[in-house]
Subunit: 147 residues, 4 copies
Amino acid sequence: MPQPDIIDLAKSIFGGQPFSRHIGADLVEITQTRAVIEVELRDELRQQHGYAHGGVLSYLADNAITFAGGVALLSDALTSEFKINYLRPGTGPLLRAVAEPVSISGRQAVCQCRILSVDGEEEVLAALAQGTVVRLSSGKAKSGPQT
Amino acid sequence: MPQPDIIDLAKSIFGGQPFSRHIGADLVEITQTRAVIEVELRDELRQQHGYAHGGVLSYLADNAITFAGGVALLSDALTSEFKINYLRPGTGPLLRAVAEPVSISGRQAVCQCRILSVDGEEEVLAALAQGTVVRLSSGKAKSGPQT
Amino acid sequence: MPQPDIIDLAKSIFGGQPFSRHIGADLVEITQTRAVIEVELRDELRQQHGYAHGGVLSYLADNAITFAGGVALLSDALTSEFKINYLRPGTGPLLRAVAEPVSISGRQAVCQCRILSVDGEEEVLAALAQGTVVRLSSGKAKSGPQT
Amino acid sequence: MPQPDIIDLAKSIFGGQPFSRHIGADLVEITQTRAVIEVELRDELRQQHGYAHGGVLSYLADNAITFAGGVALLSDALTSEFKINYLRPGTGPLLRAVAEPVSISGRQAVCQCRILSVDGEEEVLAALAQGTVVRLSSGKAKSGPQT
């Protein structure tokens, strides 16, 4: 699949994810070398102390890794696994996940992802993730990256 | 902290998590040997193919591990890291996370978590997770498990 | 491949691993539901405080997961990734890794592994691991599980 | 502890690890921003197909992460957990692990680690790891990073 097509497809797929809409996240950048997803830290995304819930950070890691890997593989793909280390509280007001494919082989892309808590010019590394995106069999090739 | 108090505290903390309410999740069981969180797979929790979004499964793993570990430690606690393997699509209509502490030392509890897709009597293992919950310093001891 | 053949093959492959001989490890049990590898904690396997080196425990996890997954898949296979949590010092005199496939799909087996420090009747859980074994393409089908 | 002392201590500790000697590994660089461990891929470090055994790569990741994190924390420390993705066969003739602390908080350092298979000028990324190093309590402060 040509690169522009896979990028359009990625954006279309992201737009078709009900959970991403429920979170309020945007796919703000997607190329073959990185995917960036952002979300405003609205009140419903917080845990009991007012910080971003760990589940919001793990959603961001999961989804940014999926899109970075899927576009790198030029293929329908899904995240098969990832790990995340929580480093600092996500205080916002913006959360940004930046995922990059580090190694691409025939069937999988292994990606790293940084989750930043962003306040104007200031960025704090809130979490760090690493995961695997695998190419789906050709039968589903029309559907692009999924999560 | 006595065991009944920590359990009441855990329930109260879960009820105070805006993101858990936004997801629509319930803490349906919490003891010193396991935590069970359930959520109905409503439409807004799906990805583009209609299955549970990976971020919903990772939220369930993160939060079930946090509560299982926090109650095992009898302490204010947070999840410092976890990994998750996605195994089968979460088709619902119910998703259930069951987390159990496997090893408790002075300051940390390492937990395993199964994420099940439940349809009546039938359960499918949708994801498998393993993570670490760490005790917070005494200064925050009144706040119980957080995520 | 019939089950007895894959088990003979697994034993033969283990015997052909120079690093397993260098460590002094034995594949003491291998079935389609679990693999057990043992090693005597000789002096050259220790770290600076006399406990088993973390690298010995991670070797045990890696290799037990590989063999459990490969036999479950009835196929030539390799471990693509795993995570390990260190729980207690490995004091020996025996170390035992017990790996079990938890979920088998067409192309991968996700396994859990416990690493035990064994002293007579007493077992201490020294580490806990979770990882993925993937089937290799048919071209290498004659070579069985590898690591 | 002053920086030069922790570095001398790290080198001394590495030299006192029987398993690192058994592997034949060297700590070739150690600063507060990275640790590099190298090992020649001798025959006894191979798996059945002649590549570096996964357990050798996981030893390198474990130990490089331990030293990078311990020196970053200026403290006696141990690796509490890590995950590793295997990417390409380690063909050698040299294997090199480069670990860097990414986030240091009061009590822990989270590190990333690349494992390279090196042949003259050519480097292939053989594995990628991410893990946590935790500070040990003051009672053991004289013993530096351990694994």
